[in-house]
């Protein structure tokens, strides 16, 4: 039953060999996938988190920067316009109208005003009916009457007025600041034109990269300065007026959708209102440029991510390969152990089987032997038989008896192979032990010219083992070594001992110069009933008994042989038999008996 199981397991093992490679390759890809998943998912999560946080952070910072810029710039423009208004007020209210009406006086004042910078294009004093009383500037406007001009009506109404850009009599875009004074002689208006170029440079003096632009527009969406790209002064602003529905703010402007038909890149826009006049200050820049640094950082992160991916893939491939190789090694080791275990159990089951057979055969053999004896006795009693026939019959009966005894010998050996003898463990000095055995064998071997050579390691430690079993093994091994010299005129058997503190065992080697073992037989020599000796000379049980004894003593036995040159058996015996080793090996046999 057990043998059948072993055979079946052997067959399945062969078919498993092919599956194994597939199994390893599947395992390999599983490892790769798991390590990739374990590394890439966190990497993506971290990358995504950092990207989101960083982008949001950068956008807010950029928007705040835009807001600061637009606020700061508004203050500068407001300040400029206020200062110019105060200049005019100061002149008008500290000088008498008679003084201001003098051409040279107004020119003197005009020149003085422009000492710090060419703020003004011209300066004029206008009476309450719209007449020009005095004028300093490049244009010939002295005869003009402004009674119908919008700005004139506004200044008469409010006292101070800053106009939108207009072309007026001179046909050049400009805007004016006008202040009014009222006294007993009537209303006087001091009017100055702000230098458009100066004002524009003041407004547009904000560095916003390549695509950034700054401009002013009035409530109707008419440009008050010339933007760098989108339009010209006095034109309608590209951005429709309705865009400016809030006091101030920041936003992202995209073509299409809200502004159908328009075509401009995505832009970041910040805007705010001036105090007086109610102009809107707009700063805008292409979104892509504004967030160039963020994009750059994102691209770098993306490259880093890809590099990480490649690195992770390579590492996981290598580590998976390494792990699979390690697993393979362990599997091979386990397989080897398994094979040894199967070998051992095979021998054990063979032992059981042979013991059963031997036992069952012994009883009939005993009966046959007695029957044979009865016939012999009867033959002796027969007196009337021919002497020749009697001798013949007697010879036959003797032959039967000797064959029965041969069978008996076989069954006895079979039983020895598998029997369990209560071990008597004691300390054994292998050197003296071996010397005794050699002495025992020397008498027989001298006759056939075989010398013994001892190469025994001095100081060899004592081992704890069963001397009677060891004697059986060594006698058998040396007997085999002697028998191996059959047909050779002389020979030598070398017996050596050595010990190794690392492997915790003693090694005994028995080396002969005999006929050697054919390579094809080398694997079978420990199997029961395997023999190369002639029929009747060997039962083929000696080595298998030796093998099972050495194994039961916790040792190991190995063989090396070269056909025609000789054989070496190496036996390793532990200093001490491992706990429980013997019990395991013999428990099955014990139950049988």
């Amino acid at each position: 039953m057990k043998i059948k199981q072993i055979i079946i397991s052997g067959i399945t093992k062969i078919s498993r060999g092919k599956e194994k490679e597939g199994h390893y390759s599947r395992l390999y890809w599983k490892f790769v996938l798991i390590t990739l998943a374990c590394s890439i998912i966190p990497l993506f999560l971290v990358g995504w988190g950092i990207y989101n946080y960083y982008s949001g952070f950068s956008r807010i910072r950029m928007e705040n920067y835009f807001k600061d810029q637009v606020g700061h710039h508004r203050k500068i423009i407001d300040m400029f316009l206020k200062e110019r208004t105060y200049d005019l007020k100061l002149i008008l209210f500290t000088n008498s109208c008679e003084y201001l009406q003098q051409q040279e006086n107004i020119e003197k004042i005009f020149n003085t005003l422009n000492i710090e910078g060419s703020f003004f294009t011209d300066l004029g004093l206008i009476y309450g009916d719209g007449r020009h009383l005095a004028y300093a500037g490049p244009y010939d406007l002295i005869k003009k009457n402004y009674s119908n001009a919008v700005w004139f009506k506004e200044v008469m109404k409010k006292g101070v007025y800053i106009s939108d850009m207009f072309t007026g009599f001179r046909n050049v875009p400009h805007f004016i600041i006008a202040v009014r004074r009222s006294d007993n002689n009537g209303n006087y208006i001091l009017r100055a034109t702000i230098d458009t170029e100066y004002f524009r440079s003041l407004v547009e003096n904000v560095k916003m990269g390549k695509t950034g632009e700054v401009y002013l527009s009035n409530k109707e969406g008419i440009l008050q300065t010339t933007p760098r790209y989108s339009g010209k002064i006095m034109d309608k602003a590209v951005l429709p007026a309705e865009f400016f529905h809030e006091e101030s703010g920041i936003g992202i402007l995209e073509s299409g959708g809200k502004y159908p038909g328009s075509d401009f890149p995505r832009q970041l826009v910040a805007y705010t209102w001036l105090e007086n006049p109610r102009w809107k200050l707009v700063i805008k820049q292409n979104y892509s440029e504004a967030f160039k640094d963020v994009d750059h950082a994102n691209r770098a992160a993306l490259i880093f991510l890809h590099l990480s991916l490649i690195a992770i893939t390579v590492i996981s491939l290598i580590s998976a390969r390494y792990m699979i190789n390690a697993i393979k090694k362990w599997d091979e080791k386990a397989d080897r152990l398994n094979r040894q275990l199967i070998e051992a159990s095979k021998l054990a089951s063979l032992g059981e089987l042979s013991a059963g057979v031997a036992h069952e055969i012994n009883n009939p053999l005993a009966i046959i032997l007695t029957e044979n004896q009865i016939i012999k006795d009867s033959l002796d009693e027969l007196s009337n038989l021919d002497e020749k026939v009697k001798t013949e019959l007697s010879d036959s009966l003797s032959a039967i008896q000797s064959q029965i005894l041969r069978c008996t010998n076989i069954t006895k050996n079979l039983l020895k192979f598998s029997r369990h003898i209560n071990s008597s463990m004691e300390q054994v000095n292998l050197n003296t032990f071996l010397e005794e055995i050699i002495q025992l064998m020397e008498g027989r071997s001298k006759v056939i010219n075989i010398k013994f050579d001892k190469n025994l390691e001095r100081n060899i430690p004592f081992i704890v083992s069963d001397p009677s079993k060891l004697q059986q093994v060594f006698l058998n091994m040396i007997n085999n070594a002697v028998d191996a010299h059959e047909g050779k005129p002389h020979g030598k058997i070398t017996i050596s001992t050595s010990f190794d503190s690392i492997s915790k065992g003693v090694e005994i080697s028995i080396n002969d110069t005999g006929s050697g073992i054919a390579p094809e037989n080398l694997g079978k020599i420990f199997e029961p009933f395997f023999t190369t000796k002639s029929v009747g000379k060997g039962t083929g049980l000696g080595l298998s008994i030796s093998y099972s004894i050495i194994k039961s003593l916790g040792g190991d036995i190995s063989v090396q042989s070269e056909l025609g040159k000789g054989t070496e058996f190496k036996i390793i015996l532990p200093y001490k038999q491992p706990e429980g080793h013997k019990d395991n090996l013999n428990s099955t046999k014990e139950s049988r008996e």
Partner: protein, 141 residues
């Protein structure tokens, strides 16, 4: 000296009967029983010089039979017959008071040697102790 009285105890009837035949032919008074219980019973009935006792028997085995016989104070020499190659049951028998053990299969000459040795010891022991065997009459089944 009267002829030695031998008892064969073996469940293998053919073997036991053959041994009886062979021993009878050689001048012994041999009896065969085929199980331990019969052996324990017959030793009360009859005095034997040597008992040849098989170890492996169904029911009461050789060792148990040996113990029972010894318990009764029977002084017959007992030779253990072991059917399997292990010597420890044989030595166990010796420890329990058997004379020696032999292994099956055995030639009649070897068996006779062993019986002779046992018988000699029996004679010596008998002479020394002046042992008188019990003479209870009983029928064994």
């Amino acid at each position: 000296m009267s002829e030695p009285k031998i008892l064969i105890v073996d469940d293998e009837k053919a073997f036991a009967n053959n041994i009886v035949k062979l021993l009878t032919k050689r001048g012994y008074e041999a009896t065969a029983v085929y199980d331990g219980a019969s052996a324990v019973c017959i030793v009360d009935e009859k005095v034997f010089d040597v008992i040849i006792l098989d170890i492996k028997m169904p029911g009461m085995d050789g060792i148990a039979t040996l113990k029972e016989i010894k318990k009764k104070g029977i002084k017959s020499e007992i030779v253990i017959l072991t059917g399997h190659g292990s010597i420890e049951t044989g030595t166990e028998g010796i420890r329990l008071g058997a004379f020696d053990f032999v292994m099956k299969p055995i030639t009649i000459d070897d068996l006779l040697d062993k019986i002779y040795q046992a018988y000699r010891r029996r004679i010596i022991e008998q002479g020394r102790t002046g042992y008188i065997p019990p003479q209870k009459k009983r029928t064994c089944t």
